[in-house]
Amino acid sequence: MKKSRALLAAVIALPLGLAAVGGGVSSASSLAGTRGANGTSGSTTAQGPINIWYSNNAQEVAWGEQMVASWNAANPRQKVTGQQIPSAQSSEEVIGAAITAGSEPCLIYNTSPASVPTFEQQGGLVPLNGFPGAASYIEGRTGTSANVYKSPDGLFYQMPWKSNPVMIFYNKKEFAKAGISTTKPPLGSYSQFLATAKKLVSSGVAKYAIYPSPSSEFYQSWYDFYPLYAAESGGQELVVNKKATFDDAAGKAVAAFWAQLYAQNLAGKETVNGDTFADGTSAMAIVGPWAVVTYQGKVDWGVVPVPTTKGSYGDQVPTFSDAKNIAMYASCKNRLTAWNFLKFSTSPTEDGKLLDMTGQMPMRQGIQQVYASYFKANPAYKEFAAEAAHVIEVPNVNNSIQVWQVFRDAWSKSVIFGKQSPSAALAGAAAQIDKLVQSNSSGEP
């Protein structure tokens, strides 16, 4: 009798499960007619209310709120509802899940360029070129550097929005205590940087000279290897023409430099809570201007470009952009409103407010001239503005996140923990990455 009841349960449960599995597949294909891959079949003329997400740091929230309020006051029939991006381990995870569920908003002001290939593969992004004049608007605002944000099919699935050129911050108070110049600190070349780092630690002013996060998340190499590689290689991306570039003299020099810092305990290897630069544990940080608010009232900081073998001086040294862009997502119904709002939010006025309220660099040509009064009042930000013109981006390639994870694992094993020679690790990672970027976006060769 028990067997009979178990059979009955199975008979009831099986169709449920199969219907659910089958439902997932058939619904995808039956809806294909109304919405093709990449969401291109939605109307680019529809207007009405839309939702947007922006970052959850206090400054960007304030900027987002005022921007939405300004728009809504002028466009009551096309109301925009803004909210902070939901919390999770990472924004990319939230956005990816929202795309799958079809619950993403029209616009997200926190789209990482590294995730764009994945979101595109998911059919979650709307190509902006579908709107009349979009390409010229984007290129007119950002200049020719906007081209790096085009996908391999030549379309813009993201609007270049703001950059955070990664530079070396230093603690003037600790430098002074260690007897190091605070106006022209010797940090231009690797040898100078290493000598300064040793002096800082041996004098006891800081436990570590610098403390980039040593953890294994895919994006952590954007804050140790990549800015220095950009500088050392003269602005080369990690992958060019579907081939990894970093297994070259520049990549090896950068790896050897960081390996020395770790081997001599000048850089911290432990995962820590909090900001080691803000609390004085490390005398330097490698980060962009978004972090300035974290240091206010805690650190009297100065900023210099990232070092190179021969010495990097001035404000022409390439570095990593750490950009966050705006993308339009496939669930968006009122796409014309979304596009008009996107243009409104990247207008000279709103770009100026973004700069003023967050200290982050709008990706607009000639920001030093356009916002001259801001830079006059905030001279410390001039360096970032100058650097913003020389940033490089993460490559827009297949399996982008996996590429960065492979690189990070190799970096962690060799440079941070010294379990493999950096040269061998870079060569191994390059071979793996070549395969990943040469396979199609679904992982097949």
Binding site: A101, G123, E270
Partner: protein, 296 residues
């Protein structure tokens, strides 16, 4: 017909109605995702927006081969084995001993019972923050150990990272397992202890001859739950060792599933890994069940 109906629906058909909501709950939230995961693991699959039509061809065992060939997966299973070897015996031994102590008439018994339970109900993020501080190079643990402290320090030491996580998880979940043993200890007849005492048995003798056999079923439950906890390990390596470091020595299979399935959008690979993990856990239970049956 009536007999058939009774055979299928049982003596009290209304029971099916009462049980149906939970059956539906199980079917939707457990059976369906599990079935879908198995289906995905045999197909080429990635997450897409609703309405996006992409081919999802059947690929047979290709995803399983990719999982088995991946050295990171093998390392993750090895890491979890290290975790289980440390965590499960430690959990069983400590929770039984502490529960026995808390079951005795000791002063401040309620206070101690609550104290052991607090870490279990406290957010992992907060607890991990404290442990990171304690096990850092300048932390209290290294201060106490002095020259005996490992170099490099615990959580960035290839040999100590996973054992450190196992010890942390043991400590954090101890309160829950103590609770299970406390409940089990209430069912051990007092007369057995009295008889043992009359026979001159020592504390250890009573513990060995009365307590341990008396809570055998609870021990089985504790072991199963501890194995499940270990197999699902994610938060601790993610937070304590910065995503499975050093050099992948604390990566768990679930952390790899998160990286490949969620971050990298390869749910087919992640599902195959998940299915293998489920099979692995079932094998552990199978062995345990077999040993239990032989003993009884």
């Amino acid at each position: 017909m009536k007999r058939f109906g009774r055979a299928v629906l049982g003596h009290q058909p209304i029971g099916l109605i009462f049980g149906a909501p939970y059956a539906v709950f199980i079917a939707l939230l457990f059976a369906y995702p599990l079935g879908l995961a198995v289906w995905i693991s045999f197909h080429h699959y990635f997450f897409t927006a609703p309405g996006v039509s992409v081919p999802r061809p059947y690929v047979g065992l290709e995803n399983y081969r990719a999982v088995i060939d991946d050295p990171a997966v093998r390392q993750a299973f090895l890491n979890v084995a290290v975790f289980l070897v440390i965590n499960v015996p430690l959990t069983v031994a400590l929770s039984l001993l502490v529960a026995t102590a808390l079951n005795a008439a000791i002063p401040f018994r309620s206070f101690f019972r609550t104290s052991f339970y607090v870490p279990y109900v406290t957010a992992s993020v907060a607890m991990v923050g404290v442990w990171l501080f304690m096990f850092s190079s300048g932390g209290v643990v290294n201060h106490v150990l002095g020259p005996l402290a490992p170099v490099p320090v615990w959580l960035i030491n290839q040999n100590w990272a996973m054992p450190s996580i196992a010890i942390y998880v043991t400590w954090k979940s101890l309160g829950f397992f103590i609770l299970l043993y406390l409940a089990a200890l209430q069912t051990v007849p007092k007369e057995l202890y009295e008889s043992a005492m009359v026979d001159g048995a020592s504390w250890w003798g009573r513990f060995k001859a009365v307590t341990i056999p008396g809570v055998r079923q609870a021990t089985t439950l504790v072991t199963i739950l501890a194995v499940i906890t270990g197999a699902n390990l994610f938060t601790e390596p993610y937070l304590m060792t910065g995503g499975g470091g050093p050099n992948g020595k604390s990566t768990s299979p679930v952390l790899l599933m998160y990286q490949t399935g969620i971050e990298q959008n390869h749910p087919d690979f992640a599902s195959a890994l998940g299915v293998l993990l489920v099979i692995g856990v079932l094998l552990v239970f199978g062995v345990q069940w077999f040993l239990e049956r032989r003993r009884t």
